[in-house]
Amino acid sequence: MNLIRLQRMPIATPRVAFAFRVASVLLALFTTAIALSISGRSPVALGAKVISATFGSSFGLEDLALLFSPLVYCGLSVAVALRIGAWNIGAEGQFNFGAFCATGVALFVQGPTWVILPLMALAGMVGGALWILIPTLARAYADVSELITTLLMNFVAILLVYWVATGPWLDPSGMALATTSRLPVSVPALWGIVHWGPLVGIFLAIALALFVTYTRWGYEVRIAGANPGAARYAGMPVKTQLIGIMLLSGAIAGLGGMMEVAGTVGRLQGGISNNYGYIGIMVAVLARAAPIGVLATAFFMAVLLNGGIVLQSQGLTTHTVLAVTGLILLYAAIGDEMAHYKILHPKVKDI
C-alpha cells in the first residue's frame, strides 16, 4: 500500500506560497459567509454591497485611497525593521509622535506652504525616529527586547497627543472640541479629497525595494537579519545597521502620521492613529516584510477595513469586522506554514 508522507521544506516556492495565501483568504471569507448566514443575513447581498460601495463610486475609491495611506506607511515601517529581525510594535506611537511634531511646525512656524509642508514632513520623520530612539539604543547596546519597549512607548505618545489636543494646543475658538485648530497648511489634493500621501507611500515602497535588493547596505541588512552572528563574523557593522534601520522604520511611521494629520484629518486630535500602527504589523507580516508586497497587503487591508465600514452601515458591529480581519490573518498564518510542506509518495515495490 502507498503511504502518504508530509515533509517540511525550508523554503516555500513563491507559486505555492501565493496559492496558499489566496486559498486562506478565500477560506476566511467563506467562514465569515457561513457565520453571516447563520445570523440570518445574506452574505452574497452584503458582499455585493461591499464591492459596489467600495469600487463602484468615487466616494468609495477616495476612501480606499485615504485608508491605504496610513496602512502603507505603518506597514513599511514594520516591514523595514523586520528585514533586520527587529519587531517594531511601536509604529502606532511613532505615527502619533510624527503627527504631533508635524502639527507643532504647522501651528507655530509661519511661512509659505512650499516651505512649511516639507518642514512638516521632516518634523514627522524626525519625530518618528526620535520616538524609536530609546528602544533602538536599548536593543543595540543593552540587548533589551524592542518588542516591549516600542510597545510601551505607544501609550506615552497616544496620551501625549490627547493631552496637547485637549490642553495646550486646544482650538481656542471653542468651535471644535478636544482637537487643535485646523492646520493652516495641508497636503495638496491629487484627486477628489485624496492627497499626495498614498502616492508618496507607493514611491517610498519602490525605493525601499530597490534599496533592499540592489544596494550593498540592503544586502548586508538582509544578512544581518537572517543571521546576525554570521554577519558580525563577516565583519559587517551589524549594530550600526540595526540602529540605522530602526530609526528609518520610526521615520517612515512618523511620515505616515504627518500625512494623516496634514492630509486626511486636518487637525491633531486624540485617536488620530486609529490603530493603523497595529494593523501595520499585520500588513507587514502578510507581505513577508517585502516592501512591494506591503503595497498589495496594505491595499487588501484597506479594502477590508473599508468593507467593514460598509458592513457597519448595514447593521453589523465593528466586532464582526475585527473578527474577519483576525480570521484572515489566522488562516494566512496556517496557510504560510502549510505551504512549506510537500506531499511525498514513496515508491513501494509491488510484492
Binding site: S57, G167, P168, G174, M175, A176, L177, N274, I309, S313
Partner: protein, 374 residues
C-alpha cells in the same frame, strides 16, 4: 431674533414653527443664523432613509441607548421610512467614512449623536441635500444643525443633594475629555453642592472616552481612594456607580435610571430624552419644512433629574426639589455672578448671569474644581 435664554424656556418644538431663526453666537460669529431660504425638498415617507451615528454601543443603557430610543420613536411615528445606525464610531477619519457611507446609501437625514466636528462637517459640506444634525455640535451649515441638552440645571440640582450627602465635602467626577459639557457639568454640580456645604471641592479624572467601563471603574476607585464620597461623571454606562455601591459611597449618574446597579449609592441621574425632538425633526424633513436649528432641549422637556434614590433623605430631596421648581418657573438662576475661575480670576461679575450660550460653551473650571484646567 430670539434670545437664547427665552428659547430654552419655551419648548423646542416652537423653534420649528419659528423656522429660519437660529441662535447666534455673538462671540465667535461662526454659527450663522439658519437661512430663512429654501428648506430641503420634501421626501415621501416610504422613500426616506434616516441614519444615526453613535459614539457608543446602543446597549450601553446610557447615552447611546437614549438616542436609540429616539430612533425607535421615529420608527413608530413613521413606520414606512427606513432607519439605519452605526454604533461605536471612533473620533478619527473612520467617522468621515461612516458618514459618507450614509450619504452614499441615500440617507435623507443624518443624526450624529456626539460631536464629530470636522469629520461630520466635511461630509455635510459636500452633501447639501442631506439634513445633518450634530449633538453637542459647534459648527453650522445650511444643512447642518446642532442640538444638545441644558444639563447644567439638573446637574446643579443633583449637586445640592450631593453636597448634603457628602460628609467629607469631597466630590469626585469621572470625565471623558476636558470639553464644555464636562466643564459645565462639574461647575454646576459643585455650585449646587456649595449651597449646602460652602467648603465642598470637586476632583475630576479624565479618561479620554465616553464609553470605557474599565477605565471609568478605575477612575471611580481612585477618586474614592482619594477621599471622595460622592461620585459624578459623564459616562455612558454604570461603572462608577457599582464602585460607589461597593465602597459605601454615593453617585449621581447620567442618561438613564441606573439605580438597580447600586440601589444604596444611587442619588439621581441626569435623564435625557430625545424622542420628541427626533420625531419632530424627521417630520419637518419629510414635510419639506426642514432648515437647520441650533437647539438646546430645556430643563424639564428633554433633560431632567431622575426620581431620587432610596437613600436620599426626605429633607434633602425636598430642598433640591424646591430649588428645581424655582429654576423651572424662572424665578431663580443659579449661574449668577460673582463666579471665579480655578485661578481666582473673576469671570462672571457680581450681578451678571451667564447666558445659555455661555453655559453651552463653558471652558473653564470654577474655583474648587481640580483636574480639568491645565
Amino acid at each position: 431674533m430670539i434670545s437664547t435664554k427665552s428659547l430654552s424656556r419655551r419648548g423646542f418644538l416652537n423653534m420649528g414653527v419659528a423656522a429660519g431663526v437660529g441662535l447666534v453666537l455673538p462671540k465667535t460669529g461662526l454659527l450663522q443664523p439658519a437661512h430663512a431660504a429654501a428648506p430641503l425638498a420634501p421626501v415621501a415617507e416610504e422613500n426616506a432613509h434616516i441614519a444615526f451615528g453613535h459614539t457608543g454601543p446602543t446597549s450601553d443603557e446610557g447615552w447611546t441607548w437614549a438616542h436609540d430610543q429616539g430612533m425607535k420613536a421615529v420608527e413608530a411615528a413613521f413606520p414606512k421610512l427606513r432607519t439605519s445606525y452605526v454604533e461605536s464610531i471612533p473620533y478619527s477619519a473612520d467617522a468621515t467614512r461612516i458618514y459618507r457611507q450614509f450619504v452614499a446609501d441615500d440617507a435623507n437625514m443624518v443624526f450624529a449623536t456626539s460631536n464629530y466636528g470636522d469629520f461630520l462637517y466635511d461630509v455635510a459640506n459636500r452633501a447639501p441635500n442631506v439634513a445633518f444634525y450634530e449633538c453637542d455640535g459647534r459648527s453650522a451649515l445650511e444643512n447642518l444643525g446642532t442640538y444638545y441638552v441644558s444639563h447644567w440645571y439638573p446637574s446643579y440640582i443633583a449637586g445640592i443633594a450631593a453636597g448634603a450627602m457628602s460628609p467629607s465635602g469631597k466630590l469626585g467626577y469621572v470625565a471623558s475629555f476636558p470639553v464644555p459639557s464636562v466643564y459645565s457639568g462639574t461647575n454646576a454640580f459643585l455650585m449646587g453642592a456649595r449651597t449646602v456645604n460652602p467648603e465642598a471641592t470637586l476632583q475630576a479624572i479624565v479618561i479620554n472616552s465616553w464609553f470605557d467601563p474599565q477605565a471609568a471603574t478605575q477612575a471611580g476607585t481612585a477618586l474614592i481612594d482619594n477621599g471622595c464620597d460622592v461620585l459624578f461623571g459623564i459616562m455612558d454606562e454604570a461603572g462608577y456607580l457599582q464602585v460607589a455601591e461597593e465602597r459605601g459611597a454615593k453617585a449621581v449618574m447620567w442618561n438613564t435610571d441606573l439605580r438597580r446597579y447600586g440601589p444604596n449609592a444611587y442619588i439621581s441621574s441626569i435623564i435625557v430624552d430625545f424622542k420628541a425632538f427626533y420625531v419632530e425633526q424627521v417630520r419637518r424633513r419629510l414635510a419639506g419644512e426642514w432648515t437647520p436649528t441650533q437647539d438646546l432641549l430645556p430643563f424639564g422637556s428633554g433633560v431632567d433629574v431622575d426620581a431620587w434614590g432610596a437613600t436620599v433623605p426626605a429633607d434633602v430631596a425636598a430642598k433640591a426639589d424646591a430649588v428645581k421648581a424655582s429654576i423651572m418657573d424662572g424665578s431663580f438662576n443659579p449661574f449668577l455672578g460673582e463666579i471665579k475661575d480655578s485661578k481666582g480670576n473673576v469671570k462672571v461679575a457680581k450681578g451678571e448671569t451667564m447666558t445659555e450660550q455661555e453655559l453651552y460653551h463653558w471652558n473653564w473650571s470654577i474655583e474648587g474644581v481640580s483636574g480639568l484646567d491645565t
